[in-house]
Amino acid sequence: MGPGGDDEQELLRSVALQNAQSILLARRRAEAELLKTKEELELRSKELARSLSMMRATLEATTDAILVTDAQGRVTDYNEKFVALWNLPRAVIGSLDHRRVLDHICPFFKDAGQCHAKIDAIYAASPLESFDLLELTDGRVFERYSRIQFIEQQNVGRVWSVRDVTERRRTEDALRDESRILELLNQTGTVIASQLELRALVQAVTDAATQLSGARFGAFFYTSKQANGEELLLYTLSGAPREAFDRFGHPRATSLFGPTFRGEGPVRCDDVTQDPRYGTLGPHHGMPLGHLPVRSYLAVSVKSRVGEIIGGLFFGHPEAGVFTDRTERIITGVAAQAAVAIDNARLFQRAQDAVQLRDDFLAIASHELKTPLTPLRLQIQSLSRLVGKGELATVPPERLRSLTRIADRQIARLTSLIEELLDVTRISAGKLRLEREIVDLVRLANEAVERHAVQLALSRCVARVEAPPRLEGKWDPLRVEQVFTNLITNAARYAPGKPIEISVRQEAGEAVVAVRDAGVGIAEQDRERIFQRYEQVKSTASVGGLGLGLFITRQIVEAHGGSIRVASGPGPGATFIVRLPLDDQPR
């Protein structure tokens, strides 16, 4: 050290050492601050670690698969669900390269080719959020959502979450389908319930059922009883033109169609062409040429409440496996609804027919009742004029007898008509009572012929009775006499000028009465109908009468436990055959 003086040096040392004291205090302050900062940092570190643990736990607890990337497509975080969802090898996710991860994932997608392009577009446009649905080749559907990740308002990357929504989608689809089905069922029910015209009804049923089943086309084959009693197999179509079926004829009771027409359970085939029941009978082995292509097949019987087979609903689809158990249940339900509706429609139709028949009958009855009254009134007016002029004594007795005879005949006619009406009323009310006693049927037959001798004469008919001397049974003599009356007058009315042959014989425990005329006969389809109430009126009003005679006759015979039918032989005319049990024992 050069010159400078010891005092100067001592002063410098003093200052330096005083400074050292202040520096020490400053150091302690700094250390205290450092310590405090360190403690705060440790606390924050702990909080951060806890927060990170919570975030990791949250990330792992979520049901979504999550991937986090930065703006350059570098993976910054992910959860194990993401790895598991795509079965990602550790080396792939470990590369932290989103593109490489996508290379592994994309083959799972149906549109694998668009996989990278979609992600690139999102990276390029950097929308706040993105949402897309991923359809996988195995049928699963994933929902992918991404959102920009902001830290202190800076875009630091994007969070991608993937959720398997397959079940939800299926449920939604099922619910939608269920709603559609319910809506259709509701509509179907409304349409069916509001439709009483049979043909329109079955068309509505066919259309609704085809739509509900998801079939490409459907048909409803059903039987319909015609006015003449004949049953016809008719059909309606939906989803296919009528020409598509016209040339193939109706389905027959083959092993495939038979169960449906027999009212057995539903028939459902995923692929009818592979079904052994299919196409074993000629002439159409398998699918006839030009037939609509059918692989999925479903058929359901339509049965009435009383078990009558109304028809069958048939559905087809060119693809296999279209109809499910659920389809079958729905269509079975529709078939049941349809059956009720068709029953109702038929009842309605019958009720309408009955009302029409009654109205027709009332018109005829009025006419028939009025007819005897006219000559009766004329005869009474004629007598009244003679009495008024005081000329009654001058009238030849023969003339008077004629007048009273005519009047008497008209009264008898009126009485007969009224009796018939009363009988029908009694029968309808179930009040037809029999007063059985031992009766000789041969005597009753002969007496009936004698009693109607005048009417037979007027009809130029000769009635001949062929019978054993006696044939006794326990019957109501008045009612049996009424049977003979009806059958003989019926023969005289329908076969005027022709002989009437009446035979009475015993067969085992029955008495058999046959009344044969030689008239025009009765067509086969009318042989049952003529025993219906009012039926005569409907067919041949020209012969007169209320058309109740044969109806009353059958009721009397059946009340005795017997039967009546009409037969037609090889020749002209008709034969009414009555069988009456000899006693009143029930059979």
Binding site: G2, G5, L12, A16, N19, I23, A26
Partner: protein, 353 residues
């Protein structure tokens, strides 16, 4: 990668500038054209040496590397402590008279100007807080405690370093030439420890990354070809020196009597994250070092210091005091060129080029 080499800082001012300053005063506006020319010329000649990192030669630092930031402050007096040099002359520090302690100028102002001219990285030297701490008087300042002064000092130093870093200084070098002086004043080492503490309080305010761009320079203090503390054993200073929280150390070595002993001490105390730039040209020695001499000094240092942690520098600034004319600008640049070439030769030999 070649062995890095950096200057310490000061280059002798041009003589016309020194003369004008003597005539008009350092703060005269008349000096401005000369100062501008001095800076431009210094940088041009610095770059011409091939030095990969340069300085502005501290052409605008008045009066010296120690007091440039407080020179001319209203609240200072020129009657501070005297720093005696072996050549017999004395340099006097300013004394703080009143609060507050604020720098008059921050070194980044010099950096701004240098960067406008430079084509290579520029480093900036600043004075250490420990050196400036001696400005506070022994009898204190009314209403301004020593503690408050220390706080203000640290804040001002931090501000200066941060401004230089922010403006792109290649390195910010803290001149800590008072290290040896502290031992000289207080042989117990207590003062040196407090200086280290004070400087570490400042360095502790920077990040680890920042500290890799901060270095500390120590030397015996060079002025008029003499030192203020070359007689203090380096072995007493260096162990404490490497406790400073800096990434780089610029240690004068070429002028040391026993370089091997110094290198051994450095090897023993250098930490893995620290680099040491050893002085390979003796700035106060009028002898012109040759590149070969420099090369040999580098090879010698490389035997003790891992190559990855080794750099070269000048022993000290060539003219820490602005009015020093003991070394010419030509000599300074010739020595710098020798440092650059010699370091390159050594790099080649060591396979580090």
């Amino acid at each position: 990668m070649p062995i890095p080499t950096e200057p310490i800082g000061s280059i002798p001012r041009p003589l016309p500038l020194i003369a004008a300053a003597a005539e008009h005063g350092f703060d005269s506006p008349k000096l401005e054209p000369l100062l501008e020319e001095a800076v431009r010329d210094t940088i041009a000649r610095f770059e011409a040496t091939g030095s990969p990192v340069i300085t502005d030669g501290e052409q605008r630092k008045f009066h010296n590397f120690w007091t440039y930031c407080v020179d001319g402050l209203w609240n200072t007096a020129p009657d501070g402590f005297k720093i005696p040099f072996t050549a017999g002359h004395v340099r006097r520090m300013p004394r703080l008279k009143a609060r507050p302690f604020k720098y008059k100028v921050y070194a980044d102002r010099y950096l701004d100007e240098a960067l406008r001219h430079a084509h290579v990285p520029v480093k900036q030297a600043v004075i250490s807080p420990s050196a400036l701490s001696l400005m506070y008087p022994a009898d204190g300042i009314a209403g301004y405690s020593r503690d408050q002064f220390i706080d203000d000092l640290l804040n001002e130093h931090e501000t200066e370093v941060r401004r230089c870093l922010d403006k792109g200084a290649h390195k910010v070098q803290i001149d800590f030439t008072e290290g040896r002086l502290a031992i000289k004043i207080d042989p117990t080492g207590g003062l040196l420890t407090s200086f280290i503490d004070l400087n570490n309080l400042a360095l502790g305010r920077f990040s680890v990354a920042d500290r890799q761009r901060i270095g500390v320079h120590t030397c015996p203090g060079g002025d008029r070809d003499s030192t203020h503390s070359a007689d203090v054993d380096y072995a007493e200073l260096l162990p404490s020196l490497f406790h400073l929280k800096a990434g780089n150390f610029y240690v004068s070595l070429a002028g040391e009597r026993d370089r091997i002993r110094v290198l051994r001490v450095i090897r023993e105390h250098l930490k893995p994250d620290q680099k040491v730039f050893v002085g390979v040209v003796a700035t106060i020695d009028p002898h012109l070092d040759t590149p070969e001499e420099v090369r040999d000094r580098v090879l010698e240092a490389a035997e003790y210091i891992p190559l990855a942690q080794l750099g070269t520098t000048d022993d000290c600034g060539f003219s820490p005091f602005s009015d020093d004319t003991s070394t010419s600008r030509d000599t300074a640049f010739a020595k710098i060129r020798a440092r650059v070439l010699g370091t390159a030769l050594a790099s080649e030999i060591l396979g580090a080029s």
